[in-house]
Symmetry: C2
Subunit: 453 residues, 2 copies
């Protein structure tokens, strides 16, 4: 195995009560289920709904109705207050999903979160915790209501359970569905057979169910699906946005860009893309597939409003040379996709990142920014746990979201300063055992793995 | 919906006891489980195996040891009798799987069938039956033994159950696995949501399990996986065998051929191909992906030996313009792939068909052959239940199996004569209600569908 591919930046604080602090590769929080402010949805005498154990909705029962802004999303500009667009955010309890839910709510979309909260239990399984304390989804939603007067609906359940998803669809009647609700860790999918199978089952079947729900209950609904830049792999030609025009033996066609995913997680997203493309063609589904790069960043305008609104703090150890983007750009991209929906039957693909860095470039940026803060930064080369070329060409296009108006936040030194400052602020919560890669792409086996204490 | 795409040939017999006879689109048989000649495998005191309810093996207890031919597969030519290659045929009770199992056994491979027999129960669900009577897998294997003296092992169980598959692998220790064991009907996958989900779950997870079993229990084992020509869709450029060399913006790479599958079944095969390609790269699996065309034909050399050895008789209604091949060529292709295995880490793709016909060309062939037999043949144009272009370019390469030595049986008039004669012979078993397409690609819904009596 090559030993110079992955750079882990170990930051030794030159001052402070703890001897060392690290960037944390994964993050989440203990599970708190507080049901008190919720009530079961009991709609129009629908007895089937009463049987459904997992459907909850946020009761509108707290705080004053402050700052009500009934306007619609950014595609409406009239002075009349049109009916707000309804957006269902599947996986709305996650890092990107929660920030997106708040952003859309702030922009006067009517938002409902659908989430099975399973990510929080994965962290329990693996002994992980968030760098920052994360409030329960229920407390987050209550806090948002008390700060802004805006409601966010909540449906707790698993979209692989079609009965649950159907009830959520029929109850909320979304105009758009943003689908973050997948197992989204490549290393998790490479721990053992059962996690590989879980990842593909959960992601593929969940997305199939979402497609069937749209066809059955809201065929005009726009699916905004989160994919990943990792679906493309590292071809020796430029990566286009979803499709490539090929001339071959004198004939020409524009075809889906060939995919070469390199983990069971990334593969699950490739499978999703193919399934979605088919349903757009066969059923007239309108869909946007957002192939997202690595998201970094601590705060958006909305999560910064209160500590209880924080998303988990993450900086992922990733394959070399992908695209990166700020979480503030993630939420902006989602809004742009919703405000400018795909046509009926259209399957469009946007590459969602703003800058491209090699791991070495990133290490140099961290080193430079750390030194400015007086941190003692060392770059440590560790074996690459993944199976991939150490050096390769990489040039991916990302114009379509810019054309829709994306104004990127770039990874400047000042931003890096703020990220590092955040890590320093929460250094007491750092678990240094989680820094190094513990999953090997080659050593994955069929037997269930448990994590040592 | 266009109404001239699918041609169904309705054959009115000019004589005979029944007023009309039809080509039957699907076929299978009643389920008979006869356990008497079997015993549980009790190997070397392995208590785990004793617990496994679903593992059965053929007892060597019948007939004389006739015609024992201990030679190996066709890649061995020495006069010494080398240890025969062991081939596990997953889905070995099916149309192609059974014919392949017999062919390989006849060629002195040591063969074990792995099958959950679920295809037989699908036919019960849908009220289908085979044109020809099909013996139980147990009776078939006993008949083969009595005719040839050759044993075929049998493991009845579901490869989605990894414990079952593991025990079968550890017990049989295959040198090659031929994987036919998937839900392989496009219309079945388009009946309703639950069948769509079942198809993708069963096919994707079963194949993942096969890959993990190879990695865990026999990493040198060669996976020969059945894909379909339908994975490619109908691009406006030539279809290559699995990979295409693309020059784009001045750079060149050879990449997986873009896939545009057009049913949840075809999509499941696309997902499989991506998963297998990844494991070849990451784990060094050796794999051959056989993108097969439409298989026709009643008999192989081996199934013709006795009525109880028959495979189901099928002639599928399929999308326009795919490749076709005789079932005698299917079994030949599988043997060629096994005898010339992929290298460690190699993912190779062969397009497995011998001729290309449009539906109209096929209808003309049937008409011509039917007239020779004195049949009154009418061509009936019916609406196309699938979503696809009615007219399109189609040119698919299929050189690699020819280069390995495939000697095709072409769809000559005489062969067509014999197929039609077979239909006439079994005309009393024809169920004319099954001729017309009953599943619509556009009308598939989320609610479970049942089949009217």
């Amino acid at each position: 195995m090559a030993n110079a591919a992955l750079v882990s930046c170990s930051l030794n604080l030159s001052s402070g009560s703890k001897p060392s602090s690290h960037l944390v590769p994964s993050a989440s929080v203990s599970l708190q289920i507080s049901r008190s402010p919720f009530r079961r949805i009991l709609l129009k005498g629908d007895k089937r709904l009463r049987k459904c154990r997992t459907v909850y909705a946020m009761a509108v029962s707290m705080g004053q109705e402050a700052g009500v802004q009934p306007g619609s999303g950014s595609d409406h500009s009239s002075n009349e207050a049109p009916t707000p667009k309804k957006v269902m955010v599947i996986g709305g309890d996650g890092y990107c999903g929660w920030a997106t839910s708040l952003h859309l709510s702030n922009k006067n979309y009517e938002v409902a979160v659908v989430d099975n909260l399973v990510r929080r239990s994965f962290d329990h399984q693996l002994g992980l915790d968030s760098l920052t304390p994360i409030a329960s989804i229920h407390n987050r939603i209550r806090r948002w209501k008390s700060l802004t007067g805006k409601d966010i609906g909540l449906y707790v359940g698993d979209i692989c359970d079609f009965e649950f998803l159907s009830e959520a669809f029929k109850s909320f009647e979304p105009d758009a569905v943003v689908h973050f609700g997948e197992q989204r860790s490549a290393p998790y999918s490479m721990i053992d057979r059962s996690r590989a199978v879980y990842t593909q089952y959960n992601n593929v079947i969940g997305t199939l169910n979402a497609l069937f729900a749209i066809k059955e209950f809201g065929e005009d609904c726009h699916l905004v699906k989160l994919g990943t830049m990792g679906e493309y792999g590292t071809p020796n030609i430029d990566i286009e946005e979803g499709f490539i025009t090929i001339t071959h033996n004198g004939r020409t066609d524009t075809l889906p860009y060939p995919k070469q995913a390199s983990s069971f997680y990334h593969l699950s997203k490739v499978h999703d893309s193919h399934n979605i493309a088919f349903t757009c063609k066969a059923w007239g589904i309108r869909a946007t597939d957002l192939n997202q790069g690595v998201v970094y960043g601590v705060k958006t305008e909305e999560t910064a409003m209160h500590e209880e609104l924080s998303s988990a703090y993450r900086l992922w150890k990733r394959r070399p040379d992908p695209g990166y983007l700020d979480i503030r750009d993630t939420v902006q991209c989602i809004e742009l996709a919703i405000a400018n929906p795909a046509e009926r039957g259209e399957f469009r693909v946007f590459n969602q990142f703003t800058e491209q860095f090699s791991v070495n470039e990133l290490a140099a940026l961290v080193t430079k920014a750390g030194k400015k803060l007086g941190l003692n930064v060392r770059t440590v080369y560790v074996p690459n746990p993944r199976v991939e070329a150490e050096e390769h060409y990489y040039n991916a296009k990302h114009m379509k979201l810019a054309e829709l108006g994306l104004e990127p936040h770039l990874l400047s030194d000042s931003l890096l300063d703020s990220l590092l400052n955040f890590a320093v602020q929460y250094r007491d919560r750092v678990d240094s055992r989680q820094i190094m890669p513990s999953v090997s792409w080659r050593k994955i086996g069929a037997k269930p793995k448990t994590v040592p204490a």
